[in-house]
């Protein structure tokens, strides 16, 4: 019984007892209904944004500006990492160890399954929970599993490099920015959705710009995460030789 465990158990019991006594003494009224603002979103999301999903409607339409700058933050972090880690990915081509046979075969199948599931998440992002970020990160699982199982050199060999991935991310974000920027030509504000974009094409519900945002965001997220994983997988020996302190 080390000191850590004793402190842990003390903290645990103290929390429990404190909340028991607080409940008995205060017995607070627990919230039991939605806030006014939230009610507004839940009631009006279909009419105003053509999306039955209130969260996606807020994320990409009501408060779309937040989300665009949030993507900018992730983009800046990836670019900052790339600026910090500038070195050649050639080293990855030399040694390729990988993991066992079973993991390789399973990873192939799982990667396909993940890709199709992620596509479902992305393309139903405006109809059901999910959307650009969860879908894109699910695609990124596929590539991030491939990196340890088959070794990152396999990806490099197929022509995937982190600079290219960042460029793909930049291109996807440029497209996303264009989607946000296009309404300006008609004198509307940026990130305008329903006054500019159609709610459906050929009878298929696409909720205006929301599905476009989801598509580009998922591309951007997938390529960005893969880029992070790729330049983190360059072995340290490659670094020691070239550019030290």
């Amino acid at each position: 019984m080390s000191r850590r465990i004793i402190i842990l158990i003390l903290l645990f019991t103290a929390t429990l007892i404190a909340s028991f006594t607080a409940t008995i003494i205060l017995n607070p009224a627990t919230p039991s209904e939605l806030k006014g603002l939230a009610k507004y979103y839940v009631l009006n999301t279909i009419n105003e944004t053509a999306s039955p999903e209130a969260v996606t409607a807020i994320v990409w339409d009501y408060r779309g500006l937040d989300t665009i700058y949030e993507t900018l933050v992730l983009y800046l972090a990836i670019v900052g990492g790339l600026a910090m880690f500038k070195m050649s990915e050639e080293a990855l081509l030399k040694t390729r160890i990988g993991l066992t046979l079973l993991s390789k075969t399973s990873t192939k199948i799982v990667a396909l399954l993940i890709a199709s599931i992620a596509a479902a998440i992305v393309f139903h992002g405006h109809l059901s929970p999910g959307g650009g970020f969860p879908g894109g990160s699910a695609v990124a699982v596929a590539s991030m599993i491939i990196i340890p199982v088959f070794a990152a050199g396999t990806l490099i060999e197929k022509g995937v490099s982190s600079t290219k991935l960042v460029a793909i991310r930049g291109a996807a974000l440029t497209a996303l920015g264009l989607v946000a920027l296009l309404p300006v030509v008609k004198g509307l504000e940026i990130v305008t959705n329903q006054r500019f974009y159609p709610a459906s094409i050929l009878g298929l519900p696409i909720s205006g710009s929301l599905s476009l945002y989801n598509l580009f965001e998922s591309l951007a997220v997938a390529s960005g995460f893969t880029a992070i994983a790729l330049y983190l997988s360059i072995p340290e020996e490659a670094h020691k030789g070239g550019s030290g302190a």
């Binding site: 990855l92 040694t95 390729r96 160890i97 993991l99 993991s103 799982v110 993940i114 599931i117 998440i121 059901s128 929970p129 999910g130 969860p134 699910a138 699982v141 991030m144 599993i145 990196i147 340890p148 199982v149 070794a151 990152a152 050199g153 994983a229 790729l230 983190l232 997988s233 360059i234 072995p235 340290e236």
Partner: protein, 92 residues
């Protein structure tokens, strides 16, 4: 039909949640890294089932994606930790 679902959940919940606690015990105690990751694995597979059942219980089809994601991402944890243990360098 709802009362039957309530009944099934009433039987199922203690089983699954006890299992969650026992797995967590192993995750917290587990003397070695593989033990802990294995426990995290089992814990999240267990939770995947239970959270999926929650979708039936809450009567909504929109709670079904998270369990799948949980299972998948824990697989990622497995792969990364074991690759680290084998080669000390994840990407090669």
């Amino acid at each position: 039909m709802q009362e039957y679902v309530e009944l099934v959940m009433l039987i199922g919940t203690p089983l699954y949640l006890t299992a969650v606690i026992l797995y967590s015990y192993r995750l917290i105690r587990g003397p070695t890294i593989p033990d802990m990751v294995l426990a995290a694995d089992a814990l999240s597979y267990d939770l995947a089932v239970f959270l999926m059942a929650l979708a039936v219980y809450y009567k909504t089809p929109f709670l079904t994606a998270p369990p799948l994601m949980l299972a998948l991402w824990v697989y990622l944890l497995d792969v990364y930790v074991s690759k680290y243990l084998v080669t000390r360098e994840v990407g090669v």
